[in-house]
C-alpha cells in the first residue's frame, strides 16, 4: 500500500505575532505577479489569501490549514477544490463562487472575491474562491518551496510546517517530559 504523507501547512505562533500585517501584503503580492510599488502605482486591488485576526488580546494570521479530510473539497459542487501533491488545491477556473466552501471551512480561511481589476461587463460577477495555496504558483516558478508570508514575517512567527517532523518533535518533547517526571518520582 502506498503511504500517504500528510499535507504541509502554515502555522503561526501567536506569542510572536505583532499583528503588523506584513504577511498579508506579502501574500497579496505573491499572488499578483508584480511588485508592491507597481501594484500600488497601477492601482491594482490585490487579494491576500490570509488574514490577521485579533481575538481578545491575541493576534494571529489565519490561512488554509490544508485539511486532510477537507470539508471544502467535500462540499465543493463543481470539484474546483481537491487534494493533490500534498495541497488542498483550487482550480479557480472551475469555481462558480457558490460560497459553500466558505460556509464549511472551520477556520474562515476561504473568501469569495471578484477580481476588481477585471472591468469587462459580464453577465456574472465572476467572483472566485481564494485560499492559501502555500504559494504553489511561486513554487512552480522558481522551483523552491518558499511561502511569501513566512519570508515576510519580521518576528519569524509564521512557519511552514511539515506535519510528520512536527509530530515527531512533539512526541520527543512529550517523551522527554514523561521521562523527567518518571525519574523525578523515583528520586
Amino acid at each position: 500500500m502506498v503511504r500517504v504523507k500528510e499535507n504541509f501547512f502554515i502555522y503561526a505562533d501567536p506569542r510572536k505575532c505583532l499583528g503588523c500585517k506584513n504577511c498579508e501584503l506579502a501574500c497579496a503580492i505573491a499572488h499578483a505577479d508584480c511588485d508592491l510599488q507597481t501594484a500600488v502605482t497601477k492601482g491594482l486591488q490585490l487579494q491576500p489569501r490570509n488574514l490577521v485576526v485579533q481575538v481578545d488580546d491575541m493576534v494571529m494570521p489565519i490561512q488554509c490549514r490544508q485539511c486532510e479530510d477537507a470539508p471544502c473539497a467535500l462540499a465543493c459542487p463543481t470539484g474546483a477544490i481537491y487534494q493533490e501533491d500534498g495541497f488542498v488545491k483550487i482550480n479557480e477556473g472551475n469555481c462558480i463562487g457558490c460560497k459553500v466552501c466558505t460556509m464549511v471551512c472551520p477556520f474562515g480561511a476561504i473568501s469569495i472575491t471578484k477580481d476588481i481589476n477585471d472591468n469587462s461587463n459580464y453577465r456574472t460577477k465572476k467572483a472566485k474562491a481564494r485560499k492559501c495555496d502555500l504559494c504553489f504558483s511561486r513554487i512552480q516558478d522558481n522551483n523552491e518551496v518558499s511561502c511569501a508570508c513566512v519570508e515576510a514575517c519580521p518576528t519569524k512567527a509564521i512557519m511552514l510546517v511539515d506535519y510528520e517532523s512536527y509530530r515527531k518533535k512533539l512526541i520527543e518533547e512529550r517523551g522527554k517530559e514523561l521521562v523527567r517526571a518518571h525519574t523525578k518520582t523515583k528520586v
Partner: protein, 636 residues
C-alpha cells in the same frame, strides 16, 4: 539581495570576504537580515504621529482606508514626507548655525583657533547681503555678516524672506516662490511650523501639507547656503587640488586618523594640530608620522580645502575600521553609523565623539568647543597616537586600491578657470558652449549611498552615459566620494568617457587654467551641504541669459539617496526648477496624490519635478531627455 552585487568599489570587495571570515558584521549583513522590509513603510502609509496609532492604510482597498482620526493615505504620506524634509533642514541648518556662531565669535575675537581665511569672500557676501562693507574693519564685517545670517534663524515677520534665500536666487524665482507662500522667513520657525502643522488634527490637505514641505526644503536651502559660504570665509574657498581616494590612502607606518561626519569646525583644527604633532607620532614608532584621511562629508570638506585624501564614502565607513589600520575615527555629526563602535571593539581603533548632542555608546567622548578648539584637537590626536601603540599589525589589511582625484571646484574656482579663457566675461565660454551644443547641459549629482542598490554603481553608470552625451557633470557628498574612489575625477576619465565636444571644451578650459590637459570628467564641488555651490553657478548662468532656472538645461540626480537631508535637497532642487532624479523608490508611493504632485503637478507650479527611476541606464536616458526638452524650450 544575495543575487545583487553589494558594491563596485574594489577596496570594499576586497575587505568584505575578510570581514565575513572574521565574523564582523557590516551594513550589508544587517540589510539582508532586515529583508523583506515592511511594505506599509515602503509605501509611506503607516502613521505614527499620535498614540491612537500606529494606523495603516490598506493599499489594495480591502481593509481600512483611513486612520483612526480619519486621515487618508494622501494626508499620511504628505505628512511623513514633510517631516522628513524638515528633519533634513534641521540637520543642515544646525550645521549652518554652528558655523555662523563661530564666525560671530571670530568677529568678537573669542575663538582663537579660527581666522578669516577668505576676506574677499566675506566682503562679497556682505555686499550680497546689502551690509555696505566698504571701509569697515574685517572683524566688524564678520560680525555683521554673522548677525545677518543668524537673523535668518530669528526673524519674526513672515513677509520678509530669509536673506540667504532671497539674495541667492534669481528675482523671478523669489517672486514665484513668494506667490506660492513657500519662501521661508526664518529657518527655525519654518521647521517648527511644519512640525506643528503635521501634528494630529492640523493640516490635512495633502497638497497644502506638501507646500509646507516645499517651504521646509527652502529653509534647508537657506541653512545650507549660509553654511557653505561662511565655511569658505573661515577655512578658505576651495581651489582645485590633486589628491587620492579610497581605502588605499591609509598608511601602514603612520598614525591614521579618520575624520568622519559633516562639520569642518573641528576637523580643520585637527588638521592644523596634527601637522604640529608629527614628531610625537614618529616617537611612538610611526615612521610616516600622522596620516589624516576623510570619510563622508567631513572628508569632502578637508579634501577640497587641504587635499587630504578621502578614505571612503557612507556605506563603506565600517570597512575603514575593518582594515585594522585606523587608530582613531573622529566623528562629529550626521551619517555616522552607530555600528562603528562595536566594530572598533574588535580592533585597537578609538572612536571619538566630539559633539555634546551626538554621542555613541562605546565611543570615547572628547567634547569640542570653539573657544578651546586647539585643546580638544590636541587631546584627540594624543588619544590616536596612544591607540597606534596598541595596534595589532597582524590584523592590518589595507586594500591596495586608490585613485587619483582632483577635488575643489567651488563656484569661485570654476569661474576662475573660465576667466582664464575669457577674463572679461568668464561665463561666456560656458554659455557659448551650451548654446552651440558642445555642452548639452549640466547634471549635478548629490546624495548618499543606499544598500538597496549596488554601492556607487548608479553614480558611475549614469555618469558614463551622460558623459557620452556631452553633459557637464558636477558632484557633491557621497556621490563625489563614489566618483573619486572609482576614478571619474581624473583627466584620464575625461579622455576615456567624454563625448568629443565635451572633451574638447574640458580640454580647452583645462589647458587655459593650467591643468596641462582636460578638466576631470566630474567636477568635485564639495560635501553634501555644498550643493548650493552648483546653484550659484546655475543662477549666474540664468541671470546672464535673462531666464529663470527652470528654463536651463540643468538637471539633478540623487541615484542612491538615503538620508532625510537628501530628501530636503531633492525637494528644493525641484522648487528651484530642476528636473530631479532619484534612483531609490521614495516612501510616498502609497498616495497617488503625492506621487502625482511631485512627478507631474510640480512641473506646472515650479518648473522642476521628480523623476523616479531605479534602472541607472534608463535614468540616464530620462535625464538626457529632460536636458533636450529644456534646450528645445530655449530654442537651442
Amino acid at each position: 539581495m544575495s543575487k545583487m552585487n553589494k558594491t563596485i568599489d574594489p577596496a570594499v570587495n576586497y575587505l568584505l570576504p575578510l570581514a565575513k571570515k572574521a565574523g564582523l558584521e557590516t551594513a550589508w549583513d544587517r540589510y539582508e537580515a532586515m529583508q523583506p522590509q515592511c511594505g506599509f513603510g515602503e509605501l509611506g502609509i503607516c502613521c505614527r504621529i499620535c498614540w491612537k496609532g500606529p494606523c495603516r492604510i490598506d493599499p489594495f482597498g480591502n481593509g481600512p482606508q483611513r486612520g483612526v482620526c480619519g486621515a487618508d493615505a494622501h494626508t499620511i504620506v504628505a505628512r511623513n514626507l514633510s517631516r522628513m524634509i524638515v528633519a533634513g533642514a534641521a540637520a543642515h541648518s544646525e550645521h549652518g548655525r554652528h558655523v555662523a556662531l563661530t564666525l560671530l565669535e571670530v568677529g568678537e575675537g573669542h575663538a582663537p583657533a579660527y581666522q578669516i581665511k577668505d576676506e574677499q569672500k566675506l566682503r562679497d557676501i556682505a555686499e550680497k547681503l546689502n551690509l555696505s562693507p566698504a571701509g569697515k574693519d574685517i572683524k566688524q564685517v564678520a560680525k555683521e555678516v554673522a548677525l545677518a545670517s543668524l537673523e535668518d534663524f530669528s526673524r519674526q515677520k513672515h513677509s520678509i524672506p530669509c536673506n540667504w534665500a532671497k539674495e541667492t536666487m534669481s528675482a523671478e524665482r523669489v517672486d514665484k516662490l513668494a506667490k506660492l507662500g513657500v519662501m521661508p522667513h526664518n529657518i527655525d520657525a519654518v521647521i517648527t511650523e511644519i512640525m506643528g502643522r503635521t501634528h494630529v488634527g492640523c493640516d490635512a490637505d495633502a497638497v497644502n501639507v506638501l507646500l509646507g514641505g516645499l517651504k521646509g526644503a527652502l529653509a534647508d536651502y537657506t541653512g545650507m547656503y549660509l553654511s557653505t559660504e561662511l565655511s569658505d570665509v573661515l577655512f578658505g574657498t576651495p581651489e582645485p587640488v590633486v589628491t587620492a581616494a579610497n581605502l588605499g590612502v591609509l598608511k601602514k607606518d603612520a598614525v591614521n586618523i579618520a575624520v568622519h561626519g559633516h562639520n569642518p569646525l573641528l576637523s580643520e583644527i585637527i588638521c592644523d594640530v596634527a601637522l604640529k604633532m608629527n614628531e610625537e607620532a614618529k616617537k611612538a614608532g610611526a615612521k610616516e608620522g600622522i596620516n589624516i584621511v576623510g570619510i563622508c562629508c567631513t572628508g569632502n570638506e578637508v579634501m577640497m580645502r587641504r587635499g587630504i585624501p578621502l578614505a571612503t564614502n557612507y556605506l563603506s565607513q565600517e570597512l575603514a575600521i575593518i582594515t585594522g589600520a585606523v587608530d582613531a575615527m573622529v566623528v562629529d555629526v550626521q551619517c555616522i553609523m552607530p555600528a562603528i563602535t562595536s566594530l572598533a571593539e574588535c580592533f585597537h581603533t578609538q572612536v571619538i565623539t566630539t559633539m555634546r548632542e551626538n554621542k555613541i555608546t562605546g565611543a570615547t567622548h572628547i567634547e569640542f568647543h570653539e573657544d578651546s578648539a586647539f585643546d580638544s584637537a590636541k587631546k584627540i590626536v594624543e588619544v590616536a597616537i596612544d591607540a597606534f601603540k596598541r595596534r595589532d599589525n597582524r590584523k592590518v589589511n589595507i586594500p591596495d586600491y586608490k585613485q587619483t582625484a582632483i577635488a575643489g571646484f567651488s563656484a569661485e574656482a570654476i569661474m576662475a578657470a573660465l576667466s582664464k579663457v575669457n577674463a572679461k566675461d568668464p561665463l561666456k565660454p560656458l554659455i557659448d558652449n551650451i548654446v552651440n551644443g558642445n555642452i548639452q547641459g549640466i547634471a549635478l549629482f548629490a546624495g548618499c549611498n543606499n544598500p538597496q542598490v549596488t554601492q556607487d554603481n548608479n553614480f558611475i553608470t549614469i555618469a558614463k552615459e551622460l558623459a557620452k552625451n556631452n553633459v557637464l557633470m558636477l558632484a557633491t557628498g557621497c556621490g563625489a566620494g563614489a566618483f573619486a574612489k572609482n576614478g571619474l575625477m581624473t583627466q584620464e576619465a575625461t579622455e576615456a568617457y567624454a563625448g568629443d565636444s565635451l572633451k574638447a571644451v574640458l580640454t580647452a578650459i583645462g589647458k587655459a587654467a593650467g591643468f596641462n590637459g582636460p578638466l576631470p570628467l566630474v567636477l568635485h564641488m564639495g560635501s553634501c551641504v555644498d550643493n548650493t555651490r552648483a546653484v550659484k553657478v546655475a543662477v549666474a548662468v540664468a541671470d546672464n541669459l535673462g531666464v529663470d532656472l527652470d528654463k536651463l538645461p540643468v538637471v539633478a540626480s540623487a541615484p542612491e539617496a538615503m538620508a532625510e537631508k537628501a530628501v530636503a535637497i531633492g525637494t528644493w532642487a525641484v522648487a528651484l526648477g530642476l528636473p530631479t532624479h532619484i534612483g531609490i523608490v521614495p516612501q510616498i508611493m502609497g498616495s497617488s496624490v503625492v506621487a502625482e504632485f511631485l512627478t507631474e503637478k510640480a512641473k506646472d507650479l515650479l518648473g522642476g519635478y521628480f523623476i523616479v527611476e531605479t534602472d541607472p541606464e534608463k535614468a540616464a536616458d530620462q535625464l538626457f531627455t529632460a536636458i533636450k526638452e529644456r534646450r528645445k524650450g530655449l530654442g537651442i
